[in-house]
């Protein structure tokens, strides 16, 4: 059969014979370098097979000329990061807490590391940002049971609270006055009403506050003070303010006096390195500004 070339009238070019809805494709040849570029990319991909890991084998794979692996690259990056952090940690190790706080550069590093360490270790109890919850103190407010200075916070983190394996741990005991028979149930009620009057909470008008005062001075004042202002050496909270670790409703207060409270915090000295504890101290201090 003879070849029949269809020619486009306007351009005089032959068509490829392809037609869509009456529109015919002209055969305008592409330059050869174009198709050669395509062949070049195929050659390039063969180069890839040789240089990089490419083909899966039965129990392994072709590793390529330089043994590249993205996992090794990650490991290298992590090692570099660790080295970099090590250099920064050296700066934090030498400086005192106050010096770190005064230096914008050091405190930036300390706060960033402290925030990360806080998220890993402290958030389960104290909440994100030190929000706290019932029984776990809020770290973003201005009430500090054991003191809110940098040194106090560092001491607390290092040795914990009522953490008996650590002999430097902070010890303070809210006894179970009811359970141990020191106070009768109605006496507990009376003391609770008296404490409520100290904190300017609503008080049962029938309550015998004079009796409550007497009971308070006998049983509670040794730790909480005559005026109920608390004592940080023993972790005895201020009973006249608005911050209530276990709540300020009557059942919670009754429960506290009757059964006592022995909330504990682990010592972190052996578990976290000193630089991390320093960073944590500064971070916790920054949450509420310490005291």
């Amino acid at each position: 059969m003879a070849e029949v070339h269809e020619r486009d009238v306007v351009t005089g070019t032959t068509t490829t014979g392809h037609e869509w809805d009456g529109i015919k494709e002209l055969n305008t040849p592409l330059p050869k370098w174009w198709i050669n570029m395509f062949y070049l990319t195929i050659l390039w991909s063969i180069g890839y097979w040789i240089v990089y890991p490419a083909w899966p084998l039965v129990s392994s794979y072709t590793t390529g000329l330089f043994g590249y692996s993205s996992r090794a690259e990650l490991a290298q990056e992590m090692a570099d990061l660790k080295a970099k952090r090590g250099a920064q940690a050296a700066g934090l190790e030498k400086a005192s807490l106050e010096e770190i706080q005064k230096s914008p550069e050091l405190s930036r590093i300390a706060l960033a590391q402290g925030k990360a360490a806080f998220g890993d270790n402290c958030v389960p109890c104290h909440g994100v940002g030190g929000a706290g919850t019932k029984g776990y103190p809020t770290l973003a407010d201005d009430e500090w049971l054991w003191g809110g200075s940098l040194a106090d916070i560092q001491q607390t983190i290092q040795h914990g609270i009522r953490w008996t394996p650590d002999d430097k741990t902070r010890i303070g005991d809210m006894m179970a006055f009811g359970k141990q028979g020191l106070l009768k149930k109605d006496e507990v009620d009376t003391v609770v009403e008296y404490v409520r009057s100290l904190a300017k909470l609503d008080v049962d008008p029938k309550a015998n506050l004079a009796k409550g005062k007497e009971l308070f001075e006998t049983n509670c004042a040794s730790c909480h003070g005559d005026a109920g202002k608390g004592n940080r050496d023993m972790g005895a909270p201020n009973l006249t303010d608005s911050v209530w670790l276990y709540g300020s409703d009557r059942p919670a207060m009754y429960n506290t006096v009757y059964n006592g409270r022995q909330g504990a915090m682990p010592a972190w000295a052996g578990r976290l390195d000193p630089v991390t504890i320093k960073s944590l101290t500064l971070y916790v201090h920054s949450l509420g500004g310490g005291k």
Partner: protein, 485 residues
């Protein structure tokens, strides 16, 4: 094969190959006003490109003194008296809009001015062609040289040409990296082989691309790689001046001798003598006499070539010139063409350029040299303090764009009896915390705002956090909320 008769359309076959070798183009030397304009633009563009990084601009002790610098590491862009921070990159949007509209404007007035005179591909190709002409001679010599055997002379010429091309390409890549670092220092480091690897890599890449694109690819870039010719084709209209062969004057083509004969016998005679000078000087190898076409970058060199021939023949110049197709058609009909260089389109483009440019200048002139941003703590939203008041905490970022350290006093408005504290910074006599922010830096601090419960009019109170420069008096502010129970 079936014996059944086929309709003809179904039996079409492709004639010729699907891929063809690119036609080799040997542009001829030409002289004239358009060539002069192109040389001048080439010189100005290349001098700016190669030497701008070395221009110094004093910005004070804490900032680089390079007039144009893209500091990627510190994320600052310096352009003479302007310093751009990353959050101000939207200025580039304005520049891009202006650039696009300027291209449209050029197109609506004089066709592909960009392609013919300003495009880097055109400028560098022109430079490479000039080198080539200098070493290998003009069009005829080059055709002969390429067709001839590989003699010592040919090898020497080719070697010198490619060496010079690579040198220019290398300098082009070298100049590029100077925009990203202090130029004199980098040049010194590059020479001593202690510059960062990235610098050598980019010089290598740009040396390769310049050498390939300007030396070997040339018009192939315009014909196959660049989208702009297609876009330009869509942008042109019947009123835009384009490089045009005035076929009303040129046709029918004939030699000078034939023209005399034709005139004597009263036959029509065109001015085009078919000397092909317009085709020979064309850097993309098109024939302008075929009319406006994609391959024509409208550099005007054919105008120079044709004018030179017309001058020799004592015929008026301008057989090829900037004109419109409409005008040519009108002259054939015996009319006098009217040109609309300034028309609604050009006015609209000018208005947009003015508007965007004005807005940018206004923004730049009135922009704050400091800034403040606040993020409210997500947890806890608020805390109750021992005295029963409520406290909210914010992460505050203060921005100082000036080259000297500044003190900012932070205040909060919209909350009665609010107390403001920033951890670790001193306070003024009137109890405003003062944050020092270093030169050309930002500083993040923790802002604690507390207020008596009675000050809270709702669960959330809108507040304004304001930072005031203690000495210059500049004030910046940000809106946020104060939450309570």
């Amino acid at each position: 094969m079936s014996n059944a008769p086929h309709p003809v359309e179904e039996e079409t076959y492709i004639e010729g190959p699907l891929y063809a070798s690119a036609k080799r183009i040997y542009p001829q030397r030409v002289q004239g006003p358009f060539r002069q304009i192109k040389w001048a633009i080439l010189a100005v563009c290349l001098i700016i490109y190669y030497f701008l990084p070395f221009v110094r601009w004093d910005r004070g002790p804490n900032l680089p003194n390079q007039a144009v610098l893209l500091d990627l590491e510190k994320r600052r862009f310096y352009f003479f008296f302007i310093e751009i921070w990353p959050q101000e990159v939207y200025y580039f949007t304005g520049l891009l809009i202006i650039a696009a509209i300027v291209l449209f404007l050029m197109n609506s007035i004089g066709g592909r001015i960009w392609c013919g005179y300003l495009c880097p591909q055109t400028v560098w190709t022109d430079l490479f062609m000039a080198v080539e002409r200098h070493i290998e001679g003009d069009r005829r010599d080059r055709i002969k040289l390429d067709a001839g055997p590989w003699t010592t002379n040919k090898i020497a010429k080719k070697t010198i040409k490619h060496f010079l091309w690579i040198m220019i390409a290398w300098w082009t890549g070298g100049a590029w990296v100077l925009y990203f670092s202090d130029a004199p220092t980098l040049v010194h480091d590059l020479l001593l082989f202690r510059a960062p690897m990235t610098a050598y890599l980019w010089i290598g890449i740009l040396t390769f691309t310049t050498y390939m694109l300007a030396g070997h690819m040339r018009e192939q870039v315009c014909l196959y790689m660049c989208p702009w010719p297609r876009i330009q084709a869509a942008l042109t209209d019947e009123d835009a001046l384009n490089v045009t062969y005035r076929y009303d004057r040129g046709e029918p083509r004939m030699s000078v001798k034939d023209a005399r004969k034709a005139e004597a016998s009263g036959q029509p005679a065109g001015d085009c003598v078919e000397c092909l000078q317009c085709v020979h000087v064309c850097p993309t190898g098109v024939d302008i006499r075929e009319g406006l076409q994609m391959g024509c970058i409208q550099c005007g060199l054919c105008i120079d070539a044709c004018d030179n021939v017309m001058a020799k023949l004592d015929r008026p110049k301008g057989l090829i010139g900037y004109d419109t197709d409409e005008a040519v058609k009108l002259r054939i009909k015996g009319g006098t063409p009217v040109y609309h260089i300034l028309r609604a389109r050009t006015y609209i483009y000018l208005a947009i350029i003015g508007l965007v440019g004005g807005a940018m200048i206004y923004q730049l002139a009135t922009r704050q040299m400091s800034g403040v941003a606040a993020i409210h703590d997500r947890s806890p939203l608020f805390v109750t303090l021992a005295d029963g008041s409520i406290r909210n905490a914010y992460t505050l970022r203060l921005i100082n764009k000036r080259p000297e350290a500044r003190d900012f006093a932070v205040t909060v408005e919209g909350l009665l009896d609010a107390q403001v504290e920033i951890v670790g910074v001193p306070k003024t006599a009137d109890w405003r915390p003062v944050v020092e922010v270093g030169p050309d830096q930002t500083r993040e601090v923790r802002l604690l705002v507390s207020a008596p419960k009675a000050s809270l009019t709702g669960k959330s109170v809108p507040i304004t956090i304001r930072a005031s420069d203690l000495f210059a008096g500049e004030k910046v502010q940000v809106q946020d909320n104060f939450f309570g129970p």
